[in-house]
């Protein structure tokens, strides 16, 4: 590509992966990967809280401004990674938050602009001080941005339990441990503050303390990570693992686990990619982490794009099938098959064929004997179709009666809603409407097939004119405890007074609406008018 050296060198598994972990370089490899993993884990955990509290922007700002703290600490004490550095970082972190708060609460400048102004100014100051005064600090402006993870293993080391470990790694390990300790110790407080800040305030938690405490811990983490990943890429380590975890789970402990795993994997794979391509290790780590995020974005089982598309597809398929079912209910609708259906319903031929095949598999539709392509409903299919038909017509009735829409406006809405609401909900709608038998266009509403207690037992309110039935019991009227104590339910007494004793046979002779009532004739020949309230309570079985 350029001068004979290919831009992407060939990948040799042995040289680029295996050899790193065997031989004398293994220790350095291990330290580098460990550092990357510790940085990723610590940043990932804080990042979880940043994402949940919507503070990613402030986190971005602080990760830039700690440079100023580091440079000032260096100019004051000559240390590059000592205690002064950490104090300087914590101070700048909190200073950033204070300045932002001060700026946007005392002037017309809004919060996002305030953050931008504060962090670019402080960061610029840090870079200027670095360039002008701190030439001997071995921090060059470029690495300020993306760190130098590769050099960590070669830095000053200490002896820990018999092995030499770079100081930077020890510091990061301590930071990660402290972070874990704080999260465990203040788990409940952090939980409340993250998910319901107002509840936290009302519980008396000092949210400002927790917030500034988080800023301080964030600053310390960023400083620990600074030499490895720099000021800009640390933002990716704060957000990417946490965002990936956010898309994969809804439980907080799981979120911590997944973000840590993403961090470790990014560090490992990133290191090898960086070694193979001779590029910045931090850059490679971030690229891997973002790729993992991309994978979660597309393929997460619940929140992923693919899963959402599949859900939508399944819903559309179900709707097509149900529309086919309802269409076949129409008189004379045994059709010439899927093609005709497609035309009649306005869907593609493929969708129609697929729908018909699914319906045949479920035993709801069958080919007409003797006429190959034509289709008809089986008896189970007819039941299904009538349930849908009922839902559709009930919704139309509801829209006209309760919502006040004109009867020629309700069909499209009902076409959609019939698929989406549960059958139980439609029973409630039926009750609210007073158990109507005719829809706004004058067509009959199929009767309810849902039994109320035991097979074949219905409330009286579900009976139609001409039905013969026998009283078999009383539905428990749903009633709260307070109502039961203050206004005891007398339905049982009323029902008996009406003559509807157990075993009483009756026939429905007329239905009234507004208010809904049922006129029944008893076996003695007498007529009784039953109100809606009582009709909902009396249980009957249909005579065969």
């Amino acid at each position: 590509m350029a001068d004979g050296i290919p831009f992407i060198p060939p990948f040799d598994f042995h040289e680029h992966v295996v050899a790193r972990w065997t031989g004398i370089e293994a220790h350095d490899t291990f330290c580098t990967v460990l550092m990357g993993a510790l940085v990723a884990i610590a940043c990932g955990w804080i990042g979880c809280y940043l994402i949940l509290q919507g503070m990613a922007l402030l986190g971005d700002a602080i990760s830039h401004t700690v440079l100023l703290g580091i440079v000032v600490a260096f100019l004051w004490t000559g240390q590059v990674a000592g205690w002064a550095t950490f104090i300087g970082a914590a101070v700048t972190g909190m200073l950033t938050a204070l300045l932002v708060e001060g700026l946007h609460s005392t002037s017309r400048v809004k919060e996002d602009a305030a953050i931008g102004i504060v962090f670019t100014s402080l960061f610029a100051l840090g870079v200027v001080l670095l360039g002008v005064f701190a030439g001997s600090a071995h921090i060059d402006t470029q690495h300020v941005l993306y760190g130098n993870l590769e050099l960590v293993a070669l830095g000053e080391s200490v002896q820990v339990a018999g092995t030499t470990v770079p100081i930077a790694v020890c510091q990061m390990a301590v930071i990660a441990a402290v972070l874990m300790g704080l999260i465990v110790a203040f788990y409940k407080e952090l939980l409340v503050v993250s998910f319901d800040p107002q509840l936290a305030v009302s519980l008396g938690l000092r949210t400002w303390l927790i917030r500034y405490g988080m800023m301080a811990v964030l600053s310390l983490t960023v400083v620990g990570a600074f030499s490895s990943v720099g000021a800009v890429l640390v933002v990716a380590m704060l957000i990417a693992p946490a965002a990936t975890a956010y898309l994969l789970t809804r439980r907080l402990p799981m979120m911590f686990l997944i973000s840590a795993a993403v961090g470790v994997v990014s560090s490992l794979i990133g290191y090898h990619i960086a070694y193979w391509l001779s590029v910045s290790a931090a850059g490679a780590m971030v690229s891997v982490a973002c790729t993992l995020f991309g994978a979660a974005f597309f393929f997460a089982p619940e929140q992923g794009l693919v899963a959402a598309a599949l859900r939508r597809l399944r819903l559309r398929m179900r709707m097509h099938q149900e529309n086919i079912l309802r269409h076949l209910l129409k008189p004379g609708a045994t059709t010439e098959g899927a093609e005709r259906l497609a035309g009649a319903l306005g869907i593609s031929r493929l969708a129609a064929r697929w729908g018909v095949a699914s319906l045949q598999r479920r035993g709801w539709v069958a080919a007409v004997a003797g006429n190959g392509a034509a289709l008809e409903l089986t008896s189970r299919g007819r039941n299904q179709a009538e349930r849908l038909d009922r839902a559709h017509r009930l919704w139309e009735t509801y829209l006209v009666q309760q919502v006040g829409l004109a009867s020629d406006h309700v069909h499209p809405a009902a076409e959609q809603v019939e698929h989406l609401l549960s059958e139980q909900l439609f029973e409630n709608v039926d009750d609210v409407l007073g158990h109507p038998t005719i829809d706004p266009h004058g067509s009959p509403i199929p009767r309810s097939l849902i039994a109320d207690r035991g097979p074949g037992t219905f409330t009286l309110s579900k009976l139609r004119v001409g039905d013969r039935a026998r009283v078999v019991g009383l539905q428990d009227a749903p009633q709260g405890l307070v109502a039961a104590l203050t206004e005891p339910d007398h339905s049982a007494t009323e029902v008996v007074e009406l003559g509807l004793t157990l075993g009483q046979e009756l026939t429905v002779v007329e239905r009234f609406s507004e208010p809904a009532s049922w006129r029944v004739s008893l076996s003695s020949g007498e007529f009784r008018d039953i109100s809606h309230r009582l009709a909902d309570v009396v249980l009957v079985q249909l005579a065969p």
Partner: protein, 434 residues
Amino acid sequence: MGPEFFILADATNSSLWSQVVRFWSFQDRAVQTATAGMLLLAISSGTLGCFIVLRRLSLLGDSLGHAVLPGVCLGFMVHWTKDPLWILLGATGSALLASWMIGFIRRHSRLKPDAIMGLVLSGFFGVGTVLLTRIQNLPVGNQSGLNQFLFGQASAISEQDLWFMGTLSLVIVSCVMLAFKELVLTSFDEGFATAIGLPVRGLHYLLMGLTALAVVISIQAVGVVLVSAMLITPAATALLCTDRMRYMVLIAVACAVLAGLVGLNLSFLGRTLPTGPFVVLALALIFVAAYLFSPRYGIVARAVRRLRQAQKTARENGLKSVFLASPHDAPASGVGLETLTKARREEPGATVRMVRALARRGWVTQEGNHVALTDAGLIRARELDRNYRLWEQFLTDEVQLPADHTQRDAENLEHILEPDLVRELEARFKERHG
């Protein structure tokens, strides 16, 4: 390092002052080019930044700035040289891709916008870092000068670059001028704009596209990391100085130009320091100056106004106390100092000071221990008293506060009721009570 550096490098031997003078004489070619580039970028960023800040899109500017890095590297890789056309195209493509991606992720996930922007910002930067370090590790890419895009190096702007920058700036400024009214309206009242049929989404995309162009212009001079400062800080400074959109744009451009030139000068002084940080520091200083000293919204001006208001209130309260302490049927006859002190429940010295202030204002005359209202004082005192009663009545009638709750509110408001409001309250009072 081109020949331009040597012209200035030999200036390191001369004093700081002579270097400054030399800069501002604009004789050096390098200075001329760099200044021209800085002016172009100041004009485009200052203009667009006003809309960015008003629409609270500051973080977006930051994201786009960082996101151009991969595009710049890829543009470099076309000819393995800093060809301005390809670098520009790469940067623009990268910025537009990032901006699309932010929108896409936002629409299809439950992540909050700030997290998405931070992720895209640093993710693109990470990929850009991989490309950058790979290029730098290749022998051909070692002298690429690409790292100057990180913090900006205005002295590396070539004349060819200037042509492109000029064209883009022209595009930006013309688009903004042509669509000025529409952009302003959609920034302040999107609902109304949609209702009258303006293409609100189209204008939004236009703004995003223009911002991408402004970012691309700026990266040479101030670098990808600090480009958002060029967009945000001048506009925020202007916001603190004026309420009119036209003046806001002018002030923002002026601040950007001033800071750009000062920063440029600082970065030219004897060493090859990056330009970006110096420009940003200059911007910050100008912002702080506006924050403190802006005649309308500056902290100092607001404090002075508050102080004056407090003094006025204290004076008028003093006047009222004299009025109330004077005999009811002959208020002009005045009251003794001791009575006044007792009524006001304060130290005698304080009463004396207060009376002196009132006398200076021409509201009272003092003879020995006796204080009497002048005509002017009497008029003002009666006004205050009437305002007090009007407001008290309003609170009782309309707000339905119980009578014993109205005093403090009325005492505060009597000082600030304006004549129009007083007339309206009087009209209401007449209506209700005849």
